[in-house]
Amino acid sequence: MKRRSFLKSSAIVSGAFMMPAFLKPLEAMAMSELSGYKNLVIIQLSGGNDGLNTIIPYGNDIYYQKRNTIAINKTDIVTLNDMQGLNPNLSALKEIYDQGWMNIINSVGYPNPDRSHFRSMDIWQTGSDANQFLTTGWIGRYLDSNCQNSYSAIEVDDTLSLAMKGAKMKGIAVQDPNKLYQTTREPFFKDLVHDHNNVDLNEDNLGYLYKTMIETYSSADYIQNTSKTYKVTADYPATPFANQLKTVSKFINSGLKTRVYYVSLSGFDTHVGQQNQQGRQLKIYGDGVAAFIKDLKQSGKLDDTLVMTFSEFGRRVEQNASNGTDHGTANNILIYGGKLTKPGIYNEAPDLATLDNGDLKYQVDFRDVYATLLDKWLNVNNSQILTRNFAGLNFV
């Protein structure tokens, strides 16, 4: 073969040729292995989503008394039972709910709740107690104890959340697998990686940079070459959030050996003019998730997938004077999947009468939800990952 035509053809199939020698050969799972490989998709609603205007306790008069200007009209609510119903902007989820693919867990929180966005988000992401400061995330610790590769946990975003960072292992942030892959092709970088690959790296920032670079190399290659084999054909709304879920669908359906996916949607800090702002975000959320769940059902992956949505806190039961709500405490968690043992509303609606200083009292510790996911879905003993053993729930 002439040199020029060789270059031409190798450029076309560059992926295979450019596999650096130091990388372990990584293969996508054979199709037979595919079924039964369980994925967890975590959706974070940032800013403190108002759970009471998401899953609305319309059967409770206190809801209407405490929220004269921002309560959702009974006639607009998509009712689920005679107590609770969906915000009308979540109407796309009704079908998912009716199919038995959705769980609503009410009043989830933790003792001595913190009302700071950052602190409470840290608590949720690390799985700590309110007075305990952990520097690793709960998924990160799962990676530490059970996984060998950073692509075992993928955040579809440009940056990586604390939840995904362990002491030894970290997940990988991938907004666009091809873009990430292309940046790793640079021969100069490959040489630097090669020179450092077997060196003991320091714990300082420079060591951290080299370590990140080396991990990126092995993961970017694998993710790109595996995920490009599958094209998502289902329709998704044209929002960045839905697009992220579409990327997750591509990853799952292409057979990536990834256990955990992480996606975020922000804009829920609704101190002022809540109805419009939250309504917009909920519509983006509901339409995106409904498309994603239907897509997974279509491709036969819904039974192997569990989706969990959380926010760092709920909001005060009583609205403020600016048609908004201030930072509160307990909130609902939404779970989706094809294999739910007790679909629908999992536990009692929040108690609006017995409040703690104007805030909901939590009934379910969020770490019991995590424990369920770890024990029954990811098959790892939750006490290895969480700060102690939690009993867990029965939704899967």
Binding site: D158, E186, M213, T216, N320, H327
Partner: protein, 460 residues
């Protein structure tokens, strides 16, 4: 005595790095003299004045859809103009220290609103007071329309307090977590009722009618407190000086806090009644500031990275829009912090994608994306390099950046070796791999492109 390493370190932290000619000029200065010169160069504050109209103050008559779209476009134009005005000022100013500290306060008082005029005003408050008094700075920031709007104090009214500002004031701006209670948040929110800005003029006003003038109990004291009283009480606690000192230590010295050094800083700051200049002088004149472990171990923020590169190579941009694209890609778009806590900084700048983009960014700006490579190349690499070369014209068309190579190269003294150039451009000590790469490179320009495309270049 040749003090080059220390001077270079000082300029990397108190500014955005030093140029060859300046180092040559200053390398015999003592640290104290260099610090004096840095302050002198930053004595004056040059506000950004690119925006002259506050779009929100226009009469709000019924608007057609076309008018709404046009106003949105004007807003976008203003956003862009403001961003570029600041990144240009950062890249060209002689007042490096003032801009570096303005960037610190920009992150400390993170504010993200849809009004560029108010953002410009807040930015100028931060610049004006960047080296002044922290309490004055805090009060001016808190009473600026941008912050009143961002933290909803506009809606904080007697009978229905909105706690957003009161909470962030303590948690993020002054004393830090663990030093106040939920009760303190609720009570101080009442004290700040009535702090607002006039929707017609954008000026700060105090609205007595919505101010709660009943007694409040705050941090153990009871009184008929107004907002200024609350600030006084917070500042009387030394923890406030410690909180700011810790944050500054992590910005200027090391992201692993050193309790002893921070305690020294806290004393200086508290005793001077929160004057910023003496605190900075103390840091830059401390021996520990020049310890090995404090050199070349801070991750540059994306803006520090771009600013440093622009300054070092005298880069001009024919299409300044790309500067915003670069900021966005690297994860730090000025005036658009992710939330009230600002950008977390340090290691969090670096993850898989951002590291790769950053390492590629220098060559994209300086050399059409080409990192010429003389090491062992396999066939796949050749294909890649061929495609990069094919893309060169496109990259040049997109980026339209003009480094002044002649000026840059002329400043390098003739007898400087390639390794010495690398030692100058990179703050961390060189490791064997980088030395090998640099030694292999044949062309001076290729060498420099390689140097600024290393992980080491991400540190300062």
């Amino acid at each position: 005595m040749n003090n080059a390493r220390n001077i270079k370190h000082l300029y990397a932290r108190a500014g955005f790095g030093i140029r060859f000619e300046d180092l040559h000029d200053h390398e015999n200065w003592s640290a104290n003299k260099a610090v004096r010169k840095l302050f002198k160069a930053s004595a004056d504050s040059h506000p950004i004045t690119i925006l002259t109209e506050n779009i929100d103050l226009r009469p709000q008559a019924n608007k057609t859809d076309e008018e709404k779209i046009r106003i949105q476009e004007e807003r976008n134009t203003q956003d862009k103009a403001l961003n570029l005005a600041w990144i240009t000022q950062l890249s060209t100013t002689d007042a490096q220290l003032r801009e570096k500290m303005t960037l610190f306060w920009h992150n400390h008082f993170a504010c993200n609103i849809g009004n560029a005029y108010y953002e410009q005003q807040l930015n100028n408050i931060e610049r004006e007071n960047a080296l002044g008094n922290f309490k004055t700075l805090l009060l001016q920031v808190s009473q600026s329309p941008g912050m009143l709007q961002f933290l909803n104090n506009q809606q904080n009214q007697k009978g229905h307090p909105n706690e957003n500002f009161a909470r962030e004031l303590m948690e993020l701006f002054t004393i830090g977590r663990g030093n106040y209670t939920e009760h303190d948040v609720k009570e101080s929110a009442r004290a700040f009722t009535g702090w607002a800005y006039d929707g017609k003029t954008g000026d700060y006003i105090f609205r007595p009618k919505v101010h709660d003038d009943n007694p409040k109990t705050f941090m153990g004291q009871t009184g008929n407190f107004c907002g200024e009283d609350i600030v006084e009480i917070i500042f009387s606690h030394k923890k406030t000086a410690e909180f700011i000192s810790t944050k500054l230590y992590r910005y200027l010295v090391n992201d692993v806090p050193d309790a002893e050094h921070i305690s020294q800083m806290t004393n200086v700051f508290y005793k001077s009644n929160y004057e910023i200049k003496p605190l900075l002088e103390f840091v830059f004149q401390s021996n520990w500031f020049y310890d090995d472990k404090n050199i070349g171990n801070l991750v540059k923020s994306p803006v520090e990275f771009l600013t440093g590169l622009n300054r070092q190579f005298y880069i001009t941009y024919q299409n300044p829009d790309v500067l915003m694209q670069f900021q966005r890609t690297l994860g730090q778009l000025l005036f658009r912090p992710p939330n009230v806590a600002g950008w977390p900084g340090g290691k969090s700048w670096i993850d898989s994608s951002s590291l790769m983009y950053r390492m590629k960014m220098s060559s994209i700006i300086l050399n059409a994306g080409v990192i010429d490579f003389t090491g062992k190349v396999d066939p796949g690499d050749e294909a890649y390099l061929a495609s990069v070369r094919k893309q060169q014209m496109n990259v040049i068309k997109r980026v339209q950046a003009q480094p002044n190579w002649d000026k840059f190269l002329k400043e390098i003294p003739d007898d400087t070796s390639k390794i010495q150039i690398a030692e100058f451009m990179l703050e961390p000590k060189l490791n064997q791999a980088v030395i090998a790469e640099v030694n292999q490179a044949t062309d001076i320009k290729d060498t420099i492109i390689q140097i600024v495309s290393t992980p080491e270049y991400q540190l300062c």
